[in-house]
Structures are given as structure tokens and as C-alpha cells.
């Protein structure tokens, strides 16, 4: 697990750290974690005003290009521990691969896994697989391609 964190984390400049604040709500902030090879932990500097507490936490790495494509993401679950001052220790416990990990084969595995997850969701509720209105979706795609429709930024 540490090897995966070490391999993939440097590709992301500002992962999102999420922990829990004093009111019990999740609080998220971008950070610049530093790898501590010896302890196999990440050191993160967090401002005092954030009010984050020791306990369960996650680190999300996510990115895409200007056309919301070339998606890549993963998450690391772990725990957050204070060390005094603004530096905290994030102790990873699980690497969770997301979209865009592992090339085309990884993408196919991802889609099949989510298709199976959807089937389980429906089976547990005794529901038939819903039909999708593809015609409507295709019509909306055609409207999106019309020149008068606002286009994404260059």
C-alpha cells in the first residue's frame, strides 16, 4: 500500500485532505503532503483555523484537463494525528484506486466493477434494471454541439 502511495502521490501537486472538525462535520483543504519514508506516513501542514480533529481522514488526488477528460484519481484512507504546531501526521491505511488508474485495462475493470455494483444495488431492493432514455440523451448532446450553445473555455 505504501508503495502505491509513494508512486502515485507525486503526480498531484495539491491533494485534498479531509478530516472531521469539532462540530462533527467533514472539513476539506488542499495541502502539500511530504512523504516520510522512514515512518511511512505523510506530513501535512494545516492552518490552525481549520479546526480539524485527530481521527479518521482521507487524502483525495483528482485531476482532469480543460475538457474534463483525461480523468485520474485515487484516494488514500488513513488517520490524522497532531504533532504539535501546524504539522500533522497522516497515517495511510488503505489505497483506493479511482478512475484513470491502470490504463485501458484499468478503465474496463473500473466500468465492469461499477456495473456489478449497480446490479447489486438493484438486486438488494428487488428492482428491475431501469431503462435509460438514450434518445433524449442523444438529443441533448446534439443541442450541446450546436454553434449557438456556449462552448467550454479554450
Amino acid at each position: 500500500m505504501w508503495d502505491e502511495v509513494k508512486r502515485h502521490l507525486p503526480r498531484f501537486s495539491s491533494p485534498v485532505l479531509t478530516g472531521v472538525d469539532g462540530d462533527g462535520y467533514p472539513v476539506s483543504i488542499r495541502c502539500a503532503p511530504e512523504l516520510d519514508e522512514t515512518e511511512q506516513v505523510l506530513r501535512v501542514s494545516l492552518p490552525g483555523w481549520i479546526g480539524i480533529r485527530q481521527g479518521p481522514a482521507s487524502l483525495l488526488c483528482h485531476g482532469h484537463n480543460q475538457l474534463l477528460w483525461d480523468l485520474r484519481s485515487f484516494m488514500v484512507r488513513g488517520t490524522l494525528e497532531p504533532t504539535g504546531g501546524e504539522t500533522w501526521l497522516f497515517r495511510p491505511t488503505r489505497f483506493v484506486p479511482g478512475i484513470g488508474m491502470g490504463g485501458l485495462a484499468g478503465m474496463v475493470r473500473f466500468a465492469f466493477a461499477k456495473r456489478r455494483a449497480a446490479r447489486r444495488y438493484l438486486q438488494r431492493r428487488g428492482l428491475p434494471r431501469p431503462k435509460i432514455d438514450w434518445v433524449q440523451l442523444k438529443a441533448l448532446q446534439a443541442r450541446a454541439r450546436q454553434p449557438s450553445t456556449p462552448q467550454p473555455p479554450e
Binding site: 488542499r30 474534463l68 461499477k114 432514455d133
Partner: protein
């Protein structure tokens, strides 16, 4: 309001166990926004167990998605892709009632945020 697929139901399942959530808007890549603030919304969410497959009422938002992410149309491009990705279009609605909103001008999170307590919402 946001949604998630029943193929990726963790958001909804987690909310049904614990409704406290946060949403961080901190990466404007592809949004068309220039110099936006970073915004963190903390709130209470509900995620009813009702699967939606209709676009009804959100046509403009779907068009905007396809404008901003044109390659997304590949998932509906032929029968094989539609079989492969139909789960993505089976959605669960998630509605968040804000309780606290924090924002950082210019996305500069090195400074303390401005904070609004949303005490009388919802």
C-alpha cells in the same frame, strides 16, 4: 443538489448513516471561471433511495455537461457502450442544506477564510 450513480453509491450510503457532509470547490479547471474563490460548504445531506433515470427538469445542466465534457458522449455512442455504461445514468439525488460556508478569495487558502454561518436555512 448533486447526484451519484448507483454504481458508485458510497456517497448516498454514507449520507444515510451520517448526514454531515462537506463540499470543496477548489479546482476551476474547465469551468470557464476566472480567478474564482475556493469555497467549502458544510451541511446536512439527504439521499433518498429513489433511482432517477430521467433528465426531466435538468436539460440545460446536461447540455452544459456535454459542452464542457464533449468526450463524455462516447458513453452513449453505440449499443455496446450503452450496455457497458447504463449504470452511470441510474442516479440517486443528494440534497445538501448548508450550515456553514467558508471561502477564500482568489483560492488563497494560506489565509483565514471568510465564514458565513447558515443558521436559518432549510
Amino acid at each position: 443538489m448533486t447526484t451519484t450513480s448507483i454504481g458508485l453509491p458510497d456517497k448516498a450510503l454514507n449520507i444515510r448513516r451520517n448526514p454531515r457532509v462537506s463540499l470543496l470547490f477548489s479546482d476551476s479547471t474547465g469551468s470557464g471561471l476566472v480567478d474564482p474563490p475556493a469555497v467549502l460548504v458544510q451541511g446536512d445531506a439527504v439521499a433518498p433511495d429513489e433511482i432517477k433515470t430521467s433528465i426531466g427538469g435538468f436539460e440545460n445542466e446536461v447540455i452544459l455537461v456535454y459542452c464542457r465534457q464533449p468526450a463524455g458522449a462516447m458513453y452513449t455512442s453505440n449499443p455496446a457502450m450503452r450496455w457497458f455504461s447504463d449504470w452511470y445514468f441510474m442516479r440517486l439525488e443528494i440534497t445538501v442544506t448548508p450550515r456553514r460556508i467558508l471561502w477564500w478569495e482568489h483560492g488563497d487558502i494560506s489565509r483565514s477564510p471568510k465564514v458565513v454561518e447558515a443558521l436559518h436555512v432549510g
